[in-house]
């Protein structure tokens, strides 16, 4: 049977040369970095076999007597994440509007809004936590503020993108029937954006639970504090329980949040 195949695509020599060049450059960068970081593989393997053989079995044998302490710290972690995300979900609204081109209709304002949001996003959560510990002391509240500010950067950007993608025909229709700006906002824009805003806020809460587990490492409260203590005391059984707790709680929260978000939009 005759197969009438389509003609082979034309390959330009330029593209072939370009792709080979990209491959060579990438490989070069890899080799250069590995030379730069100077890994002593023999020593690494040695340490691994020595320490990990000692520690991993202990991690896998959690110390259940510490359960109530670990649970209390986990609850504190969730509180920090929740308070922080809630603050962020609210703080991000005005910034989101400011950074949305179609809301301000003003290039300067939008640019300022986008800059503020990028500047906030540039700080890792842990740096923010250190900054706030300086301001309010080594308390969970420092963690809350770190989460709040860190999340505002991301939520503000996502909010502004939601706003920029709304159906402007609806806005036009309401303008055409004599509604004023505030009425258009409440009756034309809010119904379009609320589900997405909520969905992103919940998603960010999910991320914040994970982020707040490490805040304690710098002293900003939550389960990270226990991680630091367990490591200092080489109490690997308790560390095992802490890690197990984090894995279970984060997974459960992820599952719940996915379910809620599915129903929202």
């Amino acid at each position: 049977m005759m197969h009438n195949l389509p003609p082979k695509p034309k390959r330009s020599t330029f593209k072939t040369v370009r792709n080979i060049l990209i491959g060579v450059i990438l490989a070069g960068i890899y080799i250069w970095t590995f030379m730069g970081i100077d890994i002593d593989f023999a020593k690494a393997v040695d340490r691994m076999t020595n320490n990990y053989a000692r520690i991993i079995p202990k991690l896998l044998d959690p110390d259940w007597s510490a359960l109530s302490d670990v649970w209390a710290a986990m609850v504190e972690t969730i509180y920090i994440a929740f308070a922080g995300s809630l603050m962020a979900a609210i703080l991000a609204i005005p910034l989101g509007f400011l950074a949305a081109q179609n809301m301000t209709n003003n290039r300067v304002l939008t640019t300022i809004g986008k800059w503020i949001l990028s500047a906030i996003r540039a700080f890792p959560d842990i740096i923010l936590a250190i900054l706030f510990i300086v301001v309010v002391g080594p308390k969970p509240f420092a963690g809350v503020l770190a989460i709040a500010i860190g999340s505002t950067g991301m939520l503000g950007k996502l909010y502004s993108e939601v706003l920029e993608s709304i159906d402007t025909n609806v806005v036009e229709a309401m303008e055409a029937n004599g509604a004023n700006k505030l009425q258009i906002l409440v009756h034309g824009i809010l119904p379009q954006i609320t589900p997405e805003f909520l969905s992103y806020a919940i998603y960010r809460f999910e991320i914040d639970v994970r982020a707040s587990t490490i805040l304690g490492i710098v002293g900003a409260g939550g389960i990270g504090t226990l991680i630091v203590f367990a490591k200092m005391n080489r109490n690997w059984e308790e560390m095992g329980l802490i890690l197990l707790m984090i894995i279970v709680v984060v997974t459960v929260i992820d599952l719940i949040s996915t379910q809620i978000r599915k129903r929202l939009v």
Binding site: E175, H187, P191
Partner: protein
């Protein structure tokens, strides 16, 4: 009464939307504007409620020159001029009732409307409007659950709830199939006759224009090239307006289902 006096409109990019238009649209008329796409039909209709602003001449609605209207006066003009769009422009996530009540926004105080405190009269008016276009059973459905024809009927109900003196319809049937198109045009015509609302409709289907209009205005390249009663119009007239022979695509065909 809507009067265009030497109205021209030049868009910021230099495109001439309207060229020296002179027109008078009388109370209670059902006017259909025809022309090819890009002929200026939309620009003409949208200049009446100032969604676009004419750059020269005078445009009088009820003897007021609207070209200088801003803020409150512009909103009050728009409250009495209702508009229907090709893509219905409903809030898809809100239910039908909320969408129809939005027609009252121009008549409702800001504070009341922010908290959804529409008066009993408004709510009953919204319900009556839905009944007039026979879609009251969908009142609590979300707008995105409705078909195109149903959404367009909801948008007609929204305009009715606005209690306008004029209705502008910008290609109201361009996204619909032939039977639904006839249904929508029949409702518009019925409302025009029963409530004596002056209605201006953009269409590019010549058979529909001839069937529903009192008066037909033909446009080409931003100019009014024909203006006369529908009874005087023949295919020849359309060939003159379009500047070419009539094709299959210029006809909607079909009848109301």
């Amino acid at each position: 009464m809507i009067e265009f006096k030497n109205v021209s409109l030049t868009y910021p990019n230099g495109t001439k939307g309207l060229k020296n238009v002179n027109l008078t649209i009388n109370e209670g008329e059902f006017v259909v504007i025809v022309g090819l796409s890009g002929a200026g039909k939309s620009t003409l209709i949208r200049s009446i409620n100032k969604l676009v602003t004419a750059t020269e001449g005078e445009l009088l609605v009820d003897n007021e020159n609207i070209l200088t209207h801003k803020g409150k006066r512009l909103r009050s003009l728009r409250t009495k001029v209702g508009m229907i769009f090709q893509n219905y422009n409903l809030v898809k996530r809100s239910n039908v009732f909320k969408n129809v009540l939005a027609g009252r926004l121009g008549h409702t105080g800001t504070l009341r409307s922010l908290f959804n405190l529409f008066s009993k009269e408004d709510r009953s008016l919204a319900y009556e409007s839905l009944k007039r276009v026979n879609i009251e059973e969908k009142i609590y459905n979300r707008a995105d659950e409705l078909s195109g024809g149903q959404q367009q009927r909801v948008s007609i109900a929204r305009v009715l709830t606005q209690k306008p003196k004029y209705i502008l319809a910008d290609e109201p049937v361009a996204s619909l199939d032939p039977p639904t198109s006839h249904q929508v045009m029949t409702y518009l015509r019925k409302i025009n006759q029963e409530d004596n609302i002056t209605t201006v409709v953009n269409l590019h289907f010549i058979d529909m224009a001839m069937e529903y209009a009192d008066r037909i205005i033909g446009m080409r390249a931003g100019e009014v090239v024909f203006d006369g009663p529908a009874s005087e119009v023949s295919e020849k007239t359309f060939e003159e307006i379009y500047g070419r022979t009539i094709r299959e695509g210029d006809l909607r065909g079909g009848t109301e289902a």
